[in-house]
Symmetry: C2
DNA sequence: GGGTCAGTACTCGGATATTGCATGTCCGAGTGTCCTCGG
DNA sequence: CCGAGGACACTCGGACATGCAATATCCGAGTACTGACCC
């Protein structure tokens, strides 16, 4: 179980778009060049972020991508959820009810989720809570050097 | 990103083996029948748990599987780690260093992990901590009805 | 000068490989238990 | 009655097939800006 690589890409794009806010929108070609990523696939991932209301895209020759909201209003959790289809880490298949082990049980016994499922859900909530407690703005602030370098390099790139 | 189904199987097997402690070892055939799972693949997953020192297997006609340790000494985290190859949820590929965006940076800038990686790691730690705080014994205690039904059904199965 | 029109550089969404991992199956070899049979 | 040996029911580990989701690429259509051209 590993997270999709697109999550890392998406988060870096969000942070970079935040840093380049005054220069937005940024075209997909430049973003792909920026991180040395496959352009078409990156575009697909960013489209997912647009569907989630995190990014917006502008068509046309001066078009490109920019944050749909101020970065302090975008949590890391939102980005992860948008890029992972909001799926749960753990998916209980109610194994306990199947086969010989589940025979002869009172129906009420399965009304509540099983202990395993509960523990998993608690752990997942802790994970989500942590992710939700950080925003793109937090990430931007964590690396002032990165912000500066980004602006400098982007200036050089666009001439 | 979804957890392998084998994790659910493994945990249910551990709990069931805990409940049936006095009747262990339990053969893979019975376990597979018990949960209506593919026998060969289940075996593979249990072998992984054996490698991690969580289960032991006994060969021979009265052989089968049993817990390698008392259930209060087996955390849910251990089972998950054993079945997921201990891989991290998030794997930083250092995208920030690649492409045009990373050019002209001081080497010292990349000495520390990037903010994204840090946030992910914190979240993952919260998840792990939660999983490590529960043991198989906890899970066993959560469902006294399940314990009783298991013993009853197993008795019927083995005659 | 201002309106029209084509060109350009982007976007989108859908369709289609390719890849890798989770899932699932099969087989040969090894080992402990039980049963049988001969002494 | 007891010990040797074979049958059996399990185990292990590796090899192989399948399915699906992540990754990657391509294409046709739409849209906004730019510049040229014409009235």
């Amino acid at each position: 179980m590993r997270m999709s690589e697109g999550v890392e890409w998406g988060l870096h794009c969000c942070v970079t778009l935040g840093w380049l806010d005054d220069r937005a929108p940024v075209s997909i070609r430049r973003l792909a060049l920026w991180f040395d990523l496959p352009q078409e696939y990156l575009k697909k991932r960013l489209q997912a972020l647009a569907r989630a209301g995190i990014l917006t895209s502008a068509p046309g020759v001066r078009g490109g991508w920019s944050l749909a909201r101020p970065p302090e209003k975008i949590t890391v959790m939102e980005v992860v959820a948008a890029l992972e289809d909001g799926l749960d880490l753990f998916c209980c298949t109610e194994v306990r009810q199947k086969g010989a082990g589940g025979e002869g049980a009172a129906p009420s016994e399965f009304a509540k989720p099983c202990g395993i499922s509960s523990v998993m859900r608690r752990a997942e909530l802790a994970w989500r809570r942590e992710l939700a407690s950080h925003t793109v703005a937090d990430l931007m602030e964590r690396s002032p050097q990165g912000a500066e370098r980004t602006r400098r390099n982007y200036l050089r790139m666009t001439g």
